[in-house]
């Protein structure tokens, strides 16, 4: 089972379901932490997803959520979202403007 990492401002911001997010690949090696921008279904319950990967979650100050979530990647997108420099990436993701 592959492991990924994502960041959220507050843990309560993370909502179960199909969404667009940036994730980091935790596979060991020189490319560890490479970023992917994906559309995926995420859930705190493994049983809700078919063959999911592990998704670790950290907050805006880097604190790690004790228990992982699970992720099923559906589509890989270019590694950016449309926006102007210094615009908040989370607000763009929330509006789904990248899709």
């Amino acid at each position: 089972m592959k492991e990924w990492l994502t960041f959220t401002r507050k843990f309560s911001d993370l909502k179960e379901g199909r969404r667009e997010l940036f994730i980091k690949d935790l596979s060991e090696g020189p490319r560890k932490y490479d970023t992917k921008h994906v559309v995926a279904t995420i859930s705190p319950n493994r049983e809700n997803l078919k063959n999911p990967d592990v998704l670790w979650v950290r907050s805006e100050s880097g604190i790690k959520l004790n228990n992982p979530w699970y992720i099923q990647i559906e589509e890989e997108l270019p590694p950016y979202v449309p926006g102007r420099p210094w615009q908040d990436v989370f607000s763009v993701l929330e509006k789904g403007e990248a899709r």
């Binding site: 960041f7 401002r9 940036f22 980091k24 090696g29 020189p30 490319r31 560890k32 932490y33 490479d34 970023t35 921008h37 950290r58 805006e60 100050s61 880097g62 604190i63 790690k64 590694p79 950016y80 979202v81 449309p82 926006g83 102007r84 420099p85 210094w86 615009q87 908040d88 990436v89 989370f90 763009v92």
Partner: protein, 481 residues
């Protein structure tokens, strides 16, 4: 003694016992960061990690190039035991002269020994460290020098900004919106929706990096000042993919473009105030177009965090001298400014010839007029040595009137969003407050009522002091001097 390169400086550090070469294999994934942090926190040497897990031999990481006053002194050509005051004075006088850089042919530029262009670009070929556990990614740009240019005037700016590896050919970064990079970008690129060429330079000569931290005024080139300080011109070479000029002896140069219409997350990152706070996901995206590097490149890291480290030491020097000049221009009768590294440019000490409310308010005015990177300012009389924090604290405790000597200024749109005590809402609006602690005697007090400091040097007449000094050895008291 001028240094052409990072390596020249490392040769001297080794001779002076200021460099440790770590031969054991270490991981770029938190291990080098943790070692670097531990060494900073005990005032230890500069480190050169020579064997990095997952990477071929020759790809190295350094930490703490000028992370102590001793190493700053050596970079400036001073003895390593020079006092902070001597270092300040030397740097201040060095800035009086400017020597423009020279451009050398690319064949003679060591940073062109290896060139990756287009599809060959792969940031993962370099051991960018995951510095702190919980950071948003691998920060390749910490002790860097970021070059950008204002196209209308040709002003070339050097700054020091964090940059994170996002993918093999994208960086994300977070130069503050009040930075000079942002000033140039917002003035000359964003309105035309065009990308801005940038170069992230790692491992240039030590004074060029110091100058990259300096708040040099807009439209003045840091390279001229670096040359002046170095005593000879800095050698530059043109980038492969833009007309930017970069230090030719640098270890690694990452060439790219800040994109006007695309963004990606940056951070969080354990930053210079000594905390990892909520500065995340509102930076810039850089498409990397080329990477050039020396054989056996050294990736210059600083395991940023609680002071002291390269950042807090460099800013202590470069910010203080700029502030002194600025305060003078603002009409403050300033004698000296000290930025204690422990205060991470949040706490500033200003020594003045004459104090009082009017001067204190003028000091506050200067520090809050434009972008505000500081928030606590202690103003002391000339008799207090600003470089001696014991004296400063004594003056603050005994001369600052809590009811009459504390002045505040509130502002919005220009605060330092890395200041840890601001709430997320304040940070997002760059809303802040600064304070000045007037720790001077009121100028209206007649001399005969001003309390006399009860120290050896101030409460005894020269005759009594001389007598005691003259007879000192005969008292049989050893002060261990």
């Amino acid at each position: 003694m001028p240094f052409k390169s990072h390596r020249d400086f490392f040769d001297l550090l080794e001779k002076e016992g200021e460099l440790v070469k770590v031969k054991k294999e270490v991981s770029w994934d938190m291990e080098v960061g943790a070692i670097g942090r531990k060494v900073y926190e005990s005032g230890g040497p500069c480190l050169l990690f020579e064997k990095i897990k997952d990477y071929p031999e020759g790809f190295r990481i350094s930490n703490g190039t000028t992370g102590t006053w001793s190493r700053v002194a050596l970079a400036l050509g001073l003895p390593k035991n020079a006092s902070i005051k001597e270092i300040y004075r030397h740097y201040e006088s060095g800035l009086e002269r400017r020597i423009p850089p020279v451009v050398i042919p690319r064949e003679k530029a060591p940073c062109k020994e290896n060139i990756l262009l287009g599809d060959e670009v792969d940031l993962y070929k370099f051991p960018a460290p995951m510095i702190h556990e919980g950071d948003g990614g691998r920060y390749i740009g910490t002790w860097d020098l970021v070059v950008c240019k204002e196209p209308e005037t040709g002003w070339t700016n050097w700054g020091m900004y964090r940059f994170m590896v996002h993918t093999k050919d994208y960086l994300t970064g977070w130069p503050q919106t009040t930075s000079q990079l942002a000033f140039i970008y917002n003035r000359s690129y964003l309105p035309y929706n065009r990308p801005m060429p940038v170069a992230v330079v790692l491992g240039a000569d030590p004074l060029s990096h110091l100058l990259a931290t300096a708040p040099i005024r807009p439209f003045e080139d840091e390279a001229d000042y670096a040359g002046g300080l170095n005593g000879e011109p800095i050698e530059l070479v043109q980038c492969e993919t833009s007309d930017l000029l970069v230090p030719a002896h640098a270890e690694i140069v990452i060439e790219g473009e800040v994109l006007p219409d695309k963004i990606a997350p940056d951070g969080p990152f354990g930053e210079y105030p000594g905390y990892r706070s909520g500065t995340m996901a509102s930076g810039i995206a850089v498409k990397v177009k080329a990477i050039t590097y020396r054989h056996n490149p050294i990736l210059t890291m600083i395991a940023l965090g609680t002071p002291p480290d390269d950042s807090s030491i460099a800013a202590s020097l470069t910010a203080a001298v700029a502030m002194k000049k600025g305060l003078m221009r603002h009409g403050v009768p300033v004698v000296d400014v000290y930025v204690p590294p422990e205060g991470v440019t949040h706490l500033i000490v200003v020594g003045v010839k004459r104090g009082g409310e009017e001067v204190a308010r003028k000091v506050l005015d200067y520090f809050t007029l434009r972008r505000v990177m500081t928030n606590k300012h202690i103003v002391v009389d000339e008799d207090v040595d600003v470089f001696n924090m014991a004296e400063v604290l004594h003056a603050f405790a005994t001369r600052c009137h809590p009811g009459k000597g504390i002045f505040l200024e509130h502002y919005e749109g220009r605060a330092n969003s890395l200041t840890p005590f601001y709430s997320p809402e304040e940070r997002s609006r760059l809303k802040g407050v600064s304070v000045v602690f007037d720790s001077t005697w009121p100028p209206a007090w007649p001399e005969e009522i001003v309390p006399i400091k009860a120290s050896f040097k101030t409460i005894y007449s020269p005759e009594v002091q001389e007598k005691v000094e003259k007879n000192w050895e005969s008292y049989g008291i050893n002060l261990g001097r």
